[in-house]
């Protein structure tokens, strides 16, 4: 009895599952960082800075995949536009990094970024104010995706838009943003986006130490987001979310305002995606409207499907595996990658509805399952 009660506490679930994930993540992070900083470059075990940045990028994708999994795997909301929140977070960070360039730009204007000087703009637009402050930029990283998700979710879920229709609208959302950001008049650098960043918080972005620090920060954020998500989804809130996924009408007649639950989960997920974008931009050194492309958002869904939706670690594993495959594949046959991705998605949908982690978990001895039946 007490055993059963224990399974219901979110803290218990956190104790059960999170430590393994966090331990593995931290071990890899520490090992890679140490091998980069401490070992000489000609050592066999040396990890190049390029690899560190690549790993950091993968971890950002993992966080993004987790954000999609939270809404898709747990609540059945298939968002095909999460790239939009990722890109908005990225742009907020990019704006901060642009302002940090100061007068070191090609035109040497202390206030205006290069592209504005090029467009003959006289003054900084109002929405660029405040981005010279790191704290303000970080606030915007959370607020902008969060508010957009709130407005969008409030309109869509209150009107009870669901299923395919919702997916199509999310797709349209990201597409519309992409077209908007491509315009020079928007003041976000048009199709070139924001790039040529110099430093972050006074540290040189090209330095090995900064690269490693960004990588470590990404790992820390991913771990924190994992624990937070585990806590939220392990609480009664999470059980209501599952109930909404499986039988929304029933949940309504039980007395839950399901649209409110969906809106806030969607906001949470969008904020995670925004943070992922903000960590991504300083590591890859550029943000442009291509990030809003619907194709990117669909790719995230494929990562989650491959890894296994409905489990947080599944999304992370999926993002890491598919992106590693992408890196290798595009090195050998770049033009075939999209076909491979499509084939992968079809294969997973047909043969592995629970993804790779689902496949592995089914093979493992069912210690937990037995315990459940016995309880």
């Amino acid at each position: 009895m007490s055993n059963l009660y224990g399974q219901f506490s979110a803290l218990h679930q956190l104790r059960e599952k999170a430590p393994v994930f966090v331990a593995v993540l931290f071990a890899i992070t520490a090992w890679a960082s140490a091998c980069n900083l401490l070992l000489p470059e000609d050592s066999f075990f040396h990890v190049s800075t390029f690899t560190i940045t690549l790993l950091g990028k993968y971890l950002c994708y993992a966080l993004l995949a987790m954000a999609v999994d939270v809404v898709w795997g747990y609540c059945g909301i298939l968002s095909l536009g999460h790239g939009a929140f990722f890109a908005l977070g990225g742009y907020a960070m990019g704006m901060y990094l642009m302002r940090q360039i100061g007068d070191r730009g090609v035109y040497g204007n202390p206030l205006l970024p290069d592209f504005m000087v090029f467009l003959n703009w006289e003054a900084l637009p109002w929405y660029w104010q405040g981005f010279d402050q790191f704290w303000f930029a970080m606030l915007m990283v959370l607020l902008v995706p969060g508010l957009l998700a709130f407005a969008f979710g409030w309109l869509a879920f209150r009107s009870r838009v669901a299923g395919v229709y919702l997916s199509i609208i999310t797709q349209a959302l990201t597409y519309a943003l992409m077209l908007a950001f491509f315009r020079n008049e928007m003041g976000f650098g048009g199709n070139n986006g924001l790039t040529d960043f110099k430093d972050i918080l006074g540290f040189d972005l090209q330095a090995d130490g900064t690269r490693v620090a960004l990588f470590v920060a990404t790992a820390l954020v991913l771990a924190a987001a994992y624990c937070a998500s585990q806590l939220i989804l392990g609480s009664k809130f999470g059980r209501v979310i599952l109930a909404v996924r499986d039988a929304e009408a029933r949940a309504r007649f039980v007395g839950y305002r399901t649209e409110t639950y969906k809106v806030w989960l969607f906001v949470y997920s969008a904020v995670l995606a925004g943070i992922a974008g903000a960590l991504y931009v300083p590591q890859v050194g550029i943000i442009n409207p291509g990030e809003f492309s619907p194709l990117n958002s669909i790719e995230i869904v494929v990562w989650v499907a491959v890894g296994g939706r409905g489990t947080l670690y599944g999304a992370v594993v999926g993002a890491l595996l598919v992106n590693y495959a992408k890196t290798r594949f595009t090195g050998i046959m770049p033009e075939a990658w999209l076909f491979a991705l499509g084939a992968l998605f079809v294969a997973v949908t047909l043969f592995l509805p629970r993804g790779l982690t689902g496949l592995v978990m089914e093979r493992l001895p069912r210690r937990e399952k037995l315990k459940e039946v016995a309880a």
């Binding site: 059963l4 009660y5 219901f8 506490s9 939220i232 609480s235 009664k236 809130f237 059980r239 209501v240 599952l242 109930a243 996924r245 499986d246 039988a247 009408a249 029933r250 949940a251 309504r252 007649f253 039980v254 007395g255 839950y256 305002r257 399901t258 409110t260 639950y261 806030w264 459940e372 039946v373 309880a375």
Partner: protein, 278 residues
């Protein structure tokens, strides 16, 4: 009222402003012994009158059976009472004081109206225990859910309901793994644990074995009295075993009402049901 008077009322610190008053907590007024009033109700879908000028009164504590052929409007009526469908005209009152029209499903559920679907609908991916926990009468807001803990009191209540619906041994099973009849019971249990004033039960014994049907009949009759139960059912044998009052619906309105015998001998009912033979 003068401006000063209005300001005076706003500034009066002895009472809450009306918009700050909690919407819930309004008690159902059943001083006339009637719990549910349905008057002059009509709804049509694309010109088809699913409910046509229907009048129905359900007494407090009663066990009422609704019967009628397919398309008689039984499920639509439940949809209207629970806030899923909005009628074209008419009034639906819970007790004398609570207007149900224009309220959301969740609000109506909070008022104490529980509904069981025709097809058993439970949260299949979660345990029987979690299904009951979710259905409990409690704060249903986001923050309340995030911080919710299972107190001893709540656990006792869940155990009690598990015993009532005979699923104590299946508590840790996923609800999706239950048999059809067990799912029906779990759904009834989910209604019970919410302590509803009014239970709307749509075809509770569909797909049950004779033994399960018998136990369901016992369960429903034992509920009547402290709760009000409205059962929609096709199984005449079952209706006869539980019903005190039967209402026959036909083409969206009430055709006859009374005890089972009265209804069965009513010429109008005979004509509708056996019309072809005359």
């Amino acid at each position: 009222m003068s401006v000063r008077g209005a300001f005076g009322e706003l500034a009066n610190r002895d009472q809450l402003w009306p918009f700050l008053m909690p919407a819930r907590g309004a008690r159902v007024d059943v001083s006339k012994q009637v719990l549910l009033y349905i008057e002059d109700l009509s709804v049509s879908f694309d010109g088809f009158k699913a409910i046509n000028n229907l009048n129905l009164y359900i007494n407090d504590g009663e066990l009422r059976c609704l019967i009628g052929a397919n398309g008689a409007g039984k499920t639509t009526l439940m949809d209207i009472i629970t806030g899923k469908t909005h009628p074209d005209t008419g009034a639906v009152y819970f007790g004398q004081n609570i207007d149900l029209l224009g309220r959301s499903e969740a609000e109506i559920a909070e008022l104490g109206i529980g509904r069981k679907f025709q097809k058993p609908t439970v949260f299949e991916a979660q345990t029987v225990y979690a299904n009951l926990e979710l259905s409990m009468r409690a704060e249903k807001g986001i923050m309340a859910s995030l911080g919710s803990r299972l107190t001893g009191e709540k656990r006792d209540r869940i155990d009690q309901v598990l015993a009532t619906i005979g699923l104590s041994d299946e508590r840790a099973l996923a609800a999706g793994a239950l048999s059809h009849g067990q799912k029906q019971w779990l759904e009834i249990g989910m209604l019970l644990i919410a302590d509803p004033r009014l239970l709307l039960v749509d075809e509770p014994v569909a797909g049950m074995t004779a033994q399960e049907t018998e136990r369901t009949a016992e369960l429903l009759t034992s509920l009547a009295g402290e709760r009000t139960v409205v059962v929609v059912e096709h199984d005449m044998e079952f209706v006869r075993s539980i019903a005190r009052t039967v209402t026959v619906l036909h083409q969206g309105s009430v055709l006859a009402e009374g005890t089972m015998e009265q209804v069965q001998n009513d010429p109008k009912v005979i004509e509708v049901y056996l019309g072809d033979e005359h």
